[in-house]
């Protein structure tokens, strides 16, 4: 019998990241590893530095100190030796942008930031494929419709502009657009923020299915502990730019150790 590997390979190695806009504004000395297939939740109140950290991880903002190392595990296919381990801010901008476009994905809180509002849903989904060099209109369209089905949108609306979609549908469209190139690592910034609870629940359910089906590794930033509970395997609690507690999601939410985490958990409203 083949035993499953207990220790999944490290995908993202974050070493001592600091990005400060002022004292305790930003994030400071963040150190963690993200394993392949893992969903890591970063929780904390507004201004705790979680979004700054995400921007640094996602290659959008250079840190003041520290390294973000992306390990494309050598075991799978024989990669170029130089390419097996990429230091995000040591490689050139061209390489970094290609990485963001082809192997990573970013889901913004506001779908308007992640979508091209001027072009149809199909063009939005196809953009990353076209950037990869796909030049067959029929195939692009078929893929677009397939992904609209995956994210539970009506494939018949493939030619409609995103602004005719509701907030929840725009968010689904943004997720389809990001996942269409099957990225290995996805960053999500409050993916369910601003949606009402029933829409949020369905979106979360869909996200959980997709993450499992595609074997995605996800860094999820949220202030909503319920969202974190549903999606994340592991949690990092941030406060004033620093990580105050890390651990398995259930462990942190059921038995918080740090006083700030205890406060956070006890502040959750239950109807």
């Amino acid at each position: 019998m083949k035993k499953p590997a207990l220790e999944r390979p490290v995908l993202l190695d974050v070493q001592d990241i600091t990005r400060l806009y002022g004292p305790a504004k930003g994030c400071e000395a963040i150190d963690f590893q993200l394993h392949a297939g893992e969903v890591l939740g970063i929780v904390g109140e507004s201004g705790s530095g979680k979004s700054t950290l995400l921007r640094v991880l996602a290659g959008l903002e250079a840190p003041d100190a520290g390294r973000v190392v992306y390990r494309r595990h050598a075991g799978e296919d024989v990669l170029d030796r130089d390419e097996a381990e990429l230091d995000l801010y040591a490689i050139g901008e061209a390489r970094r942008r290609a990485l963001l476009r082809l192997e990573w994905g970013l889901v913004h809180q506001n779908p308007r930031d992640g979508l091209r509002m001027g072009v149809s849903a199909g063009a939005n989904i196809g953009e990353r494929l076209m950037a990869q060099g796909q030049r067959h209109y029929g195939q692009l369209r078929a893929t677009g419709q397939e992904w609209m089905r995956q994210v539970e949108l009506d494939p018949g609306r493939i030619d409609d502009a995103p602004r005719t979609f509701s907030g929840g549908m725009q968010q689904r469209l943004q997720i389809a657009r990001t996942l269409v190139t099957r990225p290995r690592l996805v960053f999500m910034d409050e993916p369910t923020g601003g949606l009402d609870v029933s829409v949020q629940a369905r979106l979360l359910d869909m996200l959980r299915t997709l993450v499992r089906q595609l074997g995605l590794s996800v860094v999820l930033v949220t202030h909503d502990l319920a969202v974190a509970r549903l999606l994340a395997h592991r949690l990092m609690v941030m406060r004033r730019g620093q990580v105050v507690e890390t651990g398995l999601t259930d462990q942190i939410l059921d038995d918080p150790q740090h006083e700030y985490t205890q406060l956070l958990v006890s502040s959750v409203l239950t109807p």
Binding site: R101, R116, S120, M130, G138
Partner: protein, 277 residues
């Protein structure tokens, strides 16, 4: 003409523009910024093209100016007169006789020869502008060859109209590297850009950018595998010269619905009629 330097611009300015042109020829399709000058005409009337023509014009060059293919429209006539007055150069309407041809919207039907220079007037030099408003970002996209969004526009065309509905300023890739806006020429003229023996220069006065296609350069129009690039075609022939292979303009002749199709290239049409007669 007294009080003016030859061809209106001062020598320093011409030198600056020529330096920029050399760079543009060295990097086909790359937009080179230049210090555009005020010209005695409004932006949008061809200030970019006029500055380029002024910089490259020699005293014994023969100049031809066309606007929408015609030698006798307002823009063409006034620019031709301008250079007659400020440079005293000989002008012509014959494509074959011209050394420098300044054009707006068309490439002449008569094939160009080696040694000729075609100068385009360009309104919007940036092909990525419609989808990316930031200049900083578009320059980066050019530098990193991130041209996926160009196909987003073509995709959108097919999704809306069933075919690629872009009929002018149709984006091209120059020498396998830079995506370029060939100025508002009809896509009918795009194939003429490819491997053309003449030097083609593009000047945008308002945006202060110039770019070039050197002679015999590979120029491909962007398309999809299942929706290949196609040029316009007409059911009619030219009502004057009978041509069935040139770009036709539809001209309304009365208010009772009368219309005729004629060649947009007046010199080509007249030459053909002269040969037939």
């Amino acid at each position: 003409m007294d009080g003016y330097n030859f061809a209106y611009l001062d020598e320093q300015t011409k030198r600056m523009i020529r330096r920029a042109l050399l760079k543009a020829v060295a990097i086909p399709g790359y937009q080179v910024p230049f210090g555009g000058r005020e010209m005695p005409m409004p932006y949008g009337w061809g200030t970019g093209g006029v500055q380029l023509t002024a910089s490259i014009l020699g005293a014994d060059d023969i100049l031809k100016v066309i606007d929408q293919g015609a030698d006798d429209t307002t823009n063409a006539v006034s620019i031709r007169h301008f250079f007659q007055r400020v440079a005293g150069v000989e002008t012509t309407t014959a494509t074959t006789a011209a050394d420098v041809i300044q054009t707006r919207h068309r490439i002449p039907e008569t094939p160009l020869r080696s040694g000729q220079i075609l100068v385009f007037q360009v309104p919007i030099p940036e092909p990525l502008r419609f989808i990316e408003p930031s200049e900083q970002e578009t320059r980066l996209m050019h530098a990193l060859e991130e041209y996926g969004v160009m196909h987003v526009k073509l995709y959108e065309d097919i999704a809306r109209y069933g075919h690629i509905a872009t009929t002018y300023a149709y984006p091209v890739k120059v020498d396998g590297r830079y995506v370029m806006d060939p100025s508002p020429i009809p896509k009918f003229d795009n194939p003429k850009l490819d491997g053309n023996p003449a030097l083609m220069l593009f000047g945008a006065g308002r945006e202060k950018r110039l770019y070039a296609i050197p002679p015999y350069t590979r120029v491909e129009s962007l398309d999809f595998e299942d929706h290949p690039f196609e040029i316009q075609s007409w059911e009619h022939t030219c009502a004057l010269c009978g041509s069935d292979h040139s770009y036709l303009d539809e001209v309304i002749t009365d208010d009772k619905g009368g219309r005729m199709f004629v060649c947009s290239d007046t010199d080509y049409c007249q030459t053909r009629r002269g040969e037939v007669a």
